[in-house]
């Protein structure tokens, strides 16, 4: 996504100032696909995984986050992420998109479209965190948290990596650091700060509707073509290769998890297969436009195997109730992918070679790995610290958790005055 900035800095900016119809059409399509990932994709994926008396709370949290983040992104989020030369945070020169007119161009697409495409990323990232605190957080606290988190964590880190900030050399095609590491780490911190659900490790908390989860997961797979393919910000070979790599990694992640589970626990499950798919997709995200399909295959296999073990480790060994396994799937996947792209973007790996770095220049693996590791550590550490502080403040202001009676009864009735099912 940073490529347009580099292009803009090149001497031949004359080309970069013209709107390209094909590029614009593809990014408009991608924008719709990425919004579709959150609504209804992620909402259904998460909704099926909770118990039947919490289904509406999860759908509403995803939906309300989409609404509130859209407005906040328009008002100041975009400006804080994508303007100014400060290495750590943008400025407010584009407050209320003041400088975006019908003629504004970003790379080869209208800037209004770039801001909109980026908005869908800003929506899905806090929506992903919902999985960490599902079934126990107050709705008011969710809204407050998501709003503050957007400005304190998401906008600055987007600026660091894609907005001309201090991590600009990082290979992060579509958000391994910006989206998946931030969401995964924040979910983990939220799960720890809020504490486990009452029944965690005492009673079964099985998903209430696996069909819903399956449908949501399948929508995520499709939507991810826009997420990664759209991050080319153009409609050429970069976008096509990103989609190919994305697809291969998703398939490899799903099959790896399915067979791994089949061998280890005796049965290939639907939930395992789609979770492996999401792991494959999250892990290929930072790498998608830089690696080739063979590299993506390896990345997908690693994603399935590593995230599979991470899920079991977080819940059963560390006993952290990251309700819907956001950290082990998205956080660990994002970390793996951000590191692995340092290898597989290289042009010197034979059949496993990638395309090189931004603008396709050759990269030196050892140098690039240092850059990648720096980005992983910086984004994870900053996200963890900032998320912790935000949650502690909200705890004092409104409180974070619903009371235990509400938790037992389910959030739908108490928080929203509705029930998901009247059968």
């Amino acid at each position: 996504m940073k490529k347009f900035i580099l292009l803009a800095l090149l001497p031949m900016t004359a080309f970069a100032d013209v709107i390209n119809g094909a590029d614009t059409a593809w990014i408009m399509t991608s924008t719709a696909l990425v919004l579709f990932m959150t609504l209804p994709g992620l909402a259904l994926f998460y909704g099926g995984l909770v118990r039947s008396n919490n289904i509406l709370s999860v759908l509403m949290q995803c939906f309300a986050i989409a609404g509130i983040v859209s407005i906040l992104w328009f008002v100041a989020g975009y400006s804080l992420a994508f303007s100014g030369d400060n290495p750590f945070i943008g400025n407010l020169s584009n407050f209320m998109l003041a400088q975006v007119s019908i003629d504004s161009v970003s790379g080869s697409i209208p800037e209004s479209l770039f801001a909109m495409f980026q908005m869908t990323f800003a929506i899905i990232t806090p929506a992903l965190i919902v999985g960490g605190f599902a079934e126990r957080m107050k709705f008011s606290a969710v809204l407050l948290f998501s709003s503050i988190w957007l400005f304190v964590v998401y906008a600055p880190i987007t600026h660091w990596v894609w907005g001309g900030g201090w991590l600009g050399d990082t290979l992060d095609y579509a958000g391994g650091t910006v989206v998946h590491i931030t969401a995964g780490v924040a979910a983990l911190v939220a799960a720890i700060v809020l504490g486990p659900r009452q029944e965690f490790l005492k009673k079964p908390i099985p998903p209430h509707n696996m069909t819903m989860t399956f449908i949501g997961a399948a929508m995520l797979w499709v939507g991810w073509f826009g997420f990664n393919g759209g991050s080319a910000l153009s409609a050429g070979g970069d976008a096509a290769m990103a989609i190919l790599a994305t697809h291969i990694s998703a398939a490899a992640g799903a099959m790896t998890w399915m067979f791994y589970e089949w061998v280890k626990f005796g049965k290939p499950t639907a939930l395992g297969s789609v979770t492996g798919m999401v792991a494959g997709l999250g892990t290929i995200t930072p790498a998608s436009g830089f690696v080739g399909p063979a590299g993506a295959l390896v990345i997908g296999i690693i994603a399935g195997a590593v995230c599979f073990n991470a899920v079991i480790m977080i819940k059963q060994k560390f006993k952290i109730d990251d309700s819907l396994d956001v950290f082990p799937v998205h956080g660990v996947g994002g970390i793996c992918g951000t590191i692995l792209v340092g290898f597989f973007a290289s042009k010197e790996l034979g059949i496993f070679s990638g395309q090189g770095g931004w603008g396709h220049e050759a990269i030196v693996i050892s140098d690039q790995l240092q850059i990648q590791l720096t980005a992983v550590v910086a984004t994870a550490a900053y996200t963890a610290l900032a998320t912790f502080v935000i949650l502690k403040i909200i705890d004092v202001v409104t409180g974070l958790r619903v009371d235990s009676q509400t938790e037992t009864q389910g959030l739908d009735l108490d928080s929203h005055g509705e029930t998901g099912y009247n059968l």
Binding site: P204, I205, P206, E261, F265, F308, I312
Partner: protein, 112 residues
């Protein structure tokens, strides 16, 4: 007059219904129920975490029948629903004091 209450595996319900229609049983009431017996529950696996489901899904059949047809009914149900494994279910027989057909007001054997 007897009330026969049979707890069966859900997958056997249709076979039992067909067999009972063939021997002219007057009617039945079916309820979906959960419970446990010797079969106990089963385990389900979600992302590597195993859950024990303690109550197994069963169907409960209730049939009111005259004394002379009781053995035929019990034998038919047992024959069809028996797999020989734990979890096939049980049949309970209790006395009925009175039966009324609401439409006509007929009572007891006339109402069965």
């Amino acid at each position: 007059m007897k009330l026969v209450t049979a707890i069966l595996r859900p997958e056997n319900l249709d076979k039992v219904r067909e067999a009972l229609c063939d021997v002219d049983i007057p009617g039945m009431t079916v309820t979906e129920v959960k419970g446990f017996g010797k079969q106990k529950g089963h385990t389900e696996l979600y992302r590597g975490t195993e859950f024990t489901v303690e109550f197994v899904h069963k169907v409960k059949l209730e049939i009111a029948i005259s004394n002379k047809n009781l053995d035929l009914l019990i034998n038919t149900i047992s024959d069809i629903a028996r797999s020989g494994k734990k979890g096939d279910g049980k049949i309970f027989v209790t006395d009925i004091e009175k039966v009324v057909r609401i439409r006509t007001g007929e009572t007891d054997h006339d109402a069965l």
